[in-house]
Amino acid sequence: MIKKTFRVEGMHCSNCPMEVEGIEDDLPGIKQVSASYQKGQMVVEFDESRVTDAQIIAAVEKRGYQAFPA
């Protein structure tokens, strides 16, 4: 398990982090996501043998936001 921080663009209210954190349910290799509207970022704890950065970024994009490696 590793922890990585991603910059997230497109969050515009305090409900958005909840939506971004929904990628926990989308990708089985993710243990936990903690997104912050204030900081405009998310910290993802995931199993790198099962999930890649690109998959995480794509999952965030599918939910209407843009993620970039911090």
């Binding site: 305090s14 409900n15 958005c16 909840m18 903690s34 912050s36 509207y37 204030q38």
Partner: protein, 361 residues
């Protein structure tokens, strides 16, 4: 039983609009979150529909109108529950729980800054204003996300509805004082329940109609809410400043800039005296300026006649006077001797109605 009926009728007739004026900002904040979330869902549906259209599938009609009745209802239910609980505590603990004027003023200013900050956040002025947004704790959002995938976020209106317990309007404060007077937790709770229940229909109808009207304007609605928030925030800060008698409040600034002479303000032209009379009516205090003799104690008689507004909760912050006036009657207030040139400001407990006493030789 009669007392509960009176509380309910007071809520229906005056409490709803009064509460909306004070607590509308919190409701707007909660609806703003709800609306943003629904707009997000609409955008997602739009994208999905376009994709489906491209692939030859029939395009479905997009949901255009946000659902606002439920968040308003949740807000009001939480408010009802919170005030009933407060009534229980007030009945049990008595006047210990009453906030003094200074605490209320600080609260009003803090709430005002919160609203203004939120408005600036919505205008995207600077990312720093994101810190004005209430973010529910992670364990709660996780719970909500997993348990209510198909529903809207009901936490914000529920939480903010309960928060209104900290910003009661003048009429509500008067009712809280009555709840203290019951000396019974159950009666206190029943009294506050009846009153808040009475305020709810007016609160709901006005809030719903206002928000639906705004929703039709779609993308302009967010700006509309931001502007409303900005105005309510500034009003709240101003009320807080008035309550502590600050010369920086709008009323006191304009009063200082455009001091009317005796000819232009015949109501306030009475010669300085050591016995003053002030009328507290539903529209505020009259006269707005009283002249008192400096260097001697002053007797201020405050007269009410069928007064139901928050003008009943009278405050002179400078000398620590706070009186809940009867609906009809005269209440004397003793003011210690002041030096010539002193301007003593008074207001209702929410800082909405103001006036001043000028001490002259």
């Amino acid at each position: 039983m009669n007392q509960l009926l009176v509380a309910f009728i007071t809520g229906v007739t005056t409490g709803g609009l009064s509460c909306l004026a004070v607590q509308g900002g919190l409701l707007a904040s909660s609806l703003e979150n709800q609306l943003e979330q629904q707009l997000d869902q609409q955008i997602e549906q739009e994208i999905a529909a376009r994709r489906a259209h491209r692939s030859g599938k029939k395009r479905e009609r997009i949901l255009a109108r946000p659902r606002l009745a439920m968040p308003i209802l949740l807000f009001l239910v939480a408010k009802l529950a919170a005030y009933t609980l407060l009534g229980l505590l007030l009945g049990a603990l008595g006047s210990v729980l009453q906030l003094n004027a200074t605490t209320r003023a600080i609260l009003l200013i803090a709430i005002g800054i919160f609203m203004v900050g939120n408005a600036l956040r919505m205008f995207n002025v600077h990312p720093i204003f994101r810190y004005f947004s209430i973010e529910p704790p992670k364990f709660i959002t996780r719970y909500i996300r997993r348990k209510a995938k198909n529903g809207g976020n009901s936490f914000a209106p529920l939480f903010l509805g309960a928060l209104t317990v900290f910003i009661p309007c003048g009429v509500t404060q008067a009712m809280m004082a009555v709840a203290v007077g019951t000396g019974s937790p159950l009666l206190g709770a029943a009294l506050m329940f009846a009153f808040i229940l009475g305020t709810s229909p007016v609160f709901f109808v006005v809030a719903y109609l206002t928000m639906q009207l705004g929703a039709r304007l779609e993308k302009w609605f967010m700006r509309f809410v931001a502007i409303v928030l900005l105005i309510l925030g500034l009003v709240s800060v101003n009320n807080g400043l008035s309550l502590v008698g600050s010369p920086l409040s709008v009323q006191n600034l304009t009063s200082a800039l455009f001091q009317p002479g005796p000819a232009s303000n015949p109501v306030a032209s009475a010669p300085p005296s050591n016995t003053l009379s002030l009328s507290a009516s539903n529209s505020g205090y009259s006269p707005r300026r009283l002249y008192a003799l400096a260097g001697q104690p002053i007797l201020l008689n405050i007269v009410t006649e069928n007064t139901y507004s928050c003008a009943r909760d009278f405050v002179i912050q400078a000398i620590g006077v706070e009186k809940l006036l009867p609906q009809t009657g005269t209440v004397p207030v003793n003011i210690p001797a002041q030096v010539a040139g002193t301007i003593m400001r008074f207001s209702c407990s929410m800082g909405m109605y103001t006036g001043e006493i000028v001490f002259t030789q």
